[in-house]
Amino acid sequence: MSASGKKIVVIDTGPLATVQDLGRSGYAHLGVPVSGGADRGSLTLANRLVGNPESAAVIETTMGGLRIRAHGDLLVAVTGARSDVRIDGSLAGTDAASTLHDNAELSIGLPSNGCRNYLAVRGGLDVDEVLGSRSTDTLSGLGPDPLRAEVELPVGTTTGAWPATLTAPVGGDAPDVVELEITDGPRRDHVRSPADLTRGIWEVSAESDRVGVRVDRPAGCDDPLVTHRADADELASEGVPHGAIQIPPSGRPVLFLADHPVTGGYPVIAVLTSSAVDHAAQLVAGNRVRFVPI
């Protein structure tokens, strides 16, 4: 029982629901990924809407499907992907704080745009910390197990000041092609033509998860993949920066997300800006992206 006595009971999780905060930085040299919310901007917004510290633990969903029940009156907010959020069957707003009364049920539907939603509750989720974080790391298995039905999540008492606003509309229609801002990466000279990355558009493949988003050229597209230089020196494994765009031998870029490995041996030729990482975390299979150097 948490200090608040309140809790969330999971009824259904959808494809993958995990507890996430801002992750466990400081251990990468020991082989520990940072992990944490894949879309950090949406995670911190959800926390601000319920008056939590930005780093409080929340639920991250993947393609909706979450249903939870409140034990005790809770203040909650859902951010991230465009999804129908319902409280006891009635539509409730996203990007806004709502009261979830004792025994009420909240559900998050299949997103019409985006991939991941963030459900924050005032007080934060009070599950056990591992190395200073409550995040589930899907690559290394650190932190709590992914959620499953009937799991009870205690609600903590760590709160900040009441928020100045209870709504923060996040706007706009989904663009046909998502533009992702990048800067140069450390190993541009290991591919034949780094400019091939920014040429034309790429399509998100289904083999994408919290470790990374894989992209390929759309069917029928003549633009090239990004090929390794045959004469480049073999690259020793080195640290992988956040937002790294790595080029495996296939030439199909991988956009690393929160659970990326800490070291890798394929060349990183570009790095997403931190807000572009958040956008990348909302991509689903079939979405089209363009890389924009800044």
């Binding site: 801002l22 930085s25 400081g26 251990y27 990468a28 040299h29 020991l30 082989g31 520990v32 940072v34 950090r40 591992v130 190395l131 290394s140 650190l142 800067t183 140069d184 990466g185 450390p186 190993r187 020793a236 494994s237 080195e238 640290g239 992988v240 920066p241 956040h242 937002g243 790294a244 490995p261 800490v262 070291t263 890798g264 990183v268 790095v271 997403l272 800006t273 931190s274 807000s275 990482v277």
Partner: protein, 216 residues
Amino acid sequence: MRELPAGHDAVVLDFGDEDRPLSAVGRAAAALREATESGALSVGDIVPTAHTVLVQAEPGAGLDMLGVHRALRGVSADDAPSAGDTAEIRIPVVYDGPDLHEVAEIVNTTPEDVIELHTATVWQVQFMGFAPGFGYLVPRDGGDHPFDQVGRRPEARTRVPSGAIAIAAGYSAVYPRTSPGGWQLLGHTSIPMWDETADPPARLAPGSMVRFVVDE
């Protein structure tokens, strides 16, 4: 040392052109860690590997390059290793691995000689990755090593037990927990390599010296 771009929040410091890159990397990482612990530099992670150090700030925070330069000032190119680098971590091994005989064949020697080669070599953690607490160990003295000819297994095992001692592609390692793995297994140790409740959680760290000893 070259500075390679890695976004607004990170930089890769490349020591590949130095005579002894791993030593230069170790000194730079130590200086950066000291600056972080004293509060002079605020970064999230410092990741030393064979040739480079990744300095990573929190996402969106921006990297304090002046602070990085300040921390590296005075780190000379040819410092002697510090005392901390020379303390050896001794790992007792029961050499009962399923690949011991195959490795002996590859190296063209006997299993007893493989054990002798493995225990006579002083190993050093070049970098960590693959799993929490998994250190990639290389012979400290560099140069050619008979194990260099030993590659990965053609097919990875789906389950390598925690504590397994392995070699492949010039590296040796201890599997910190049960996981898939494609390296050649020489034996096992019963001492834990990873404990997430301990501080630090990993027995090894980049630069650690390791000596394997026969567990009698």
